[in-house]
Amino acid sequence: MTNTSTAPTRRGAGAVAARPSRLAGLDWRRYVIYIGFVVVFLFFAVLLGDEGFLSANNLLNILRQTATISVIAVGMTYVIACAEIDLSVGSVAGLASVVTAMALSHWGLVPGIVAGLAVGLLVGSINGGLVAGLGIPSFLVTLGMLGIAVGVAQWITASAPQPILSYAYNLVFGSGNLGPIPGLVVWMVIVVSVGAVVLAKTRFGRQVLATGGNRTAAEFTGINTKRIKFQVLLLSSTVAALAGMLYAGRLQSGRFQWGAGDELSAIAAVILGGTSLFGGSGSVIGTLFGALLISLINNGLILAGLDASQQQVVRGAIIILAVALARKK
C-alpha cells in the first residue's frame, strides 16, 4: 500500500483541498476481524499444536461447523445492513428441517426440497410484509415469528425427530463430500460468494446499503425502500431455511431443535465482521470471518479442555473485545 498505486490522475480541476497521506487514512479498524482471526489462529496453533489443532481433519471440522451459521449469517448481513434485524432465523431453520424431512418421506426428494425452501419463502414473506407493509418494527415481528416457527415445528412433529432415509438428499445436503472437501463447505462457499458479490457489486446490494444508511434519502432518490426491506427479510428467511435443510442432511433427520439459538451466533458473526448494527454498511466476507472466528474459538477451547460453561464465558469476552476494537471513534 503506497501512494503510487491508487491515485487517479484524470480527476483534474475538482481535486484540490486536503490530501492526507494514504497510509494515515487507512482505517485499520475495518480489518480488525481479519487481524483477530489470524491472531487467534496463530495463538491456538502454537498453544494447541500438539493437541492436533493444525491437523487437516480438525481444520475441516472447523469449516464444517461454521457452514450452517455462516449461511444464516449471510442473510443476516443483508438484514442488518438494511437497518433491520431478523431474530426468527434459528427457528425457521428448525421448521424447515422438519418440513423437509416429512415431505421427503411422504412425497419424495424433489417435493421435500421444494417444501423446505417454501417454508423460508412463506415465513420471509410474512416477516417482510408485516415490516415493510404495516411498518411494524422487525425486532417485534421476528421475535414473534421465532416463537411461532419453533412452535409449529414442535406441533406438527409432536416433538419427535423425523428421520431422513433418502440417501441422495443426505449426500447433497451436508453428509457428502466433493473430493476431499465436505459438501457443507461447498454450500458455504457458494452462498458466501453469491452473497458477497450481490451486496458489493449489484444494484440491489447498493440499494440495500443506501436504505440502511439513510432511508429518507434513499426514498427521495427513487429507491423503493419498502420493497428492499421486504426483500432482505425474504432473503434472510430463505437462506435460513436452506441452513435448516443442511442441518437435516448432515444429521439425517429433521428436528425442531436444529438451529435453536443460531440467530444470536449469526448476529455476532455479522457484527464481528464489521457490518454496522445501525445499517448502511456491510461486508459478507467479514461476516464469514466472523463466523469462522467464533468456530475457531469454540474448537480451540474444546481442545484446550475447557468445559462448556467456561467456553461460553471466554467466547463472550472475545466477542465483546473484538467489537470494542472495531468500534468507530
Partner: protein
Amino acid sequence: MSMQQDASTPPAVEMRGISKAFDGVVVLNEVDFEVAAGEVHALAGGNGAGKSTLMKILQGVYTKDSGTIRIDGRDVSFSSIHDAKAAGIGMVFQEFSLVPSLTVAQNIFLTHEPLGTGGLIRDAEARARARDVFGQMEVDVDPGATVADLGTAYWQLTEIAKAMAQDARVLIMDEPTASLAKHEADQLFELVARLKARGISVIYISHRMDEVYRIADRITILRDGGRLLTERLSDVTPEEIVEGIVGRQIEGLTYQEPADTDRRDVLLEARGLTSGSRVRDVSFSLHTGEIIGLAGLMGSGRTELARCLFGIDPLDAGQILVHGKEVDLSDPRAAIQAGIALIPEDRRAQGLVLDHSVRTNLLLPLLGRIRRGPLLDDRAGRALADSLIERFAVKVANPGRPVRLLSGGNQQKVVIAKWLGTDPDVLIMDEPTAGVDIGTKTEILTMIRGLAREGKGVIVISSEYAELLAVSDRVLVLRDGTLHRELARRDVTDEESLQLAVQGVGS
C-alpha cells in the same frame, strides 16, 4: 449601541494566535479573534475559511495546536465541551440538540437537574427555574410542554434558555434564522438585543447581510484560515464584506434576462393541486427554459407543493401534466420516470447517505447506467462520478471518502450533481443555498441559470428574496397553501416589494 470597551472591562473572549491543522493541513493559521462583553460580533467567511473550526475550538470540541484563549481576562485551556461550558461558553446549535420526547424544562436542565432528598429530581423546581429563565429572556414558552409539540422557533428559544440556565456569558449562534419565518426572526433579534443589554456577548455566524447589519456591532471575516479584517459595521459596506468573503467581485446575485422569451413550450402543468391542508387548489405551468421562484412564509405550503410534484405526498385532487400528458405521481419513482427531480430541503437528512462515499452517493440514482449484466461496472462508475465531480466543481480530495467530511456547500453540490446526472427535464430545488457560503451560492445560482438555458424547467423555493429575484423569471407567492399571487420578474422592483407580497400587504 452600548459597547463599553475601556481598559477596566477585559474582552469576554480573547483568542490570540490560534493555529490548528488536521492531518498536516493547516486550517487555522495564527488567528486573532476577540469579542467584547455585551457585544454582538458577526463572524463570516467562505467554505473552508475556518469559522467552524475556530468556533469548535472555543467550544472545547477541538483542541488548538497553539495560541491562547482568555475568557473575561482569565487564561483558560479547554480540553472538553464541559470545560468550555463551565467557562460560560454556550452554543445554539444549527441542528438542534434537544430531545424531542422530553419537556422544555427537562431539556433545559438535562444532566444538571435540580435534585432533592434521595437524589430524586425536583420537577416543579426545574419548571419554576425554566420559567425564570424565559422571564429574563422576556419570551413566553411553557416549560411543561413537550418539545416535539412545539415549532422550530420555540426549539431555538429552548436552546438559548438551555445555555442561559448554565450561566453562559457568550452565546454562539450559527445561522440561527435559517429555519425561522420573518416575524420569528424579528423576535429572535429583539431577544439578542435584550441579551446584549444584560451584558451577554453573542457570536453571530450568518451569511445574511441584512441580519448582520441589523444586530451586530462588529464583524470579523476569516479567509483561508486567517483573519482578513475586524471592523465596526458602521465602517464597512455590504459590498466590502461580500468581497471579503468571496475574494472577488460577484455578479451572480443580479438578475439576467433570459435570451429568448418566446417560443417556449409548456413543460409541466399543475391543475388544481390539493393535498392535505397545506396545498389547496394550486394551478400553474412551467415552460421550457423557465425558472419559477416559489415564495412564501414557513408553513405557506412551499415545501409541501414540492413534495406533491415529486410524488412524496399523495394528491387529494388535481392533475399534473408533463409534456401535455397526465402523469400519476404516486411515489418518487414515478416522478423520476416522468423526468422530475427534487433537490430536497434538508441535504443531510433527505439528500445524502452521510456515511457513504461521495462516489456512492453520486451514483445512487444512476446505478442502472453503470450495469454490465447483473453486476455494477466499477470502472464506469468511477468515470461517471469523476465526470460529475468535475462538471459541478465539487471540491473533494478523494471521492472514496465519506460525504459527511465535506463542507456544507460541497455536500450541496454533491446532491445537485447526483440529480443532474439523471438528466431531468424539471428540476425542483428546495432551499438550494441554505447554509452554504456566498461563493458557492453564486456558483449554484449560475448553475441554475445554465440549466434553464439548456431548456430545463426549474422551480426554486427560497426564503431569501435576493436569491429568488436573482434567478426567477416569475415568482409564485404561496399563502396558507393557496396560490396567493403570481408576479412577473419585471413587476417586482426590489426585495421589499416581494417581501410585502409574501406578507400579504398591498394588492
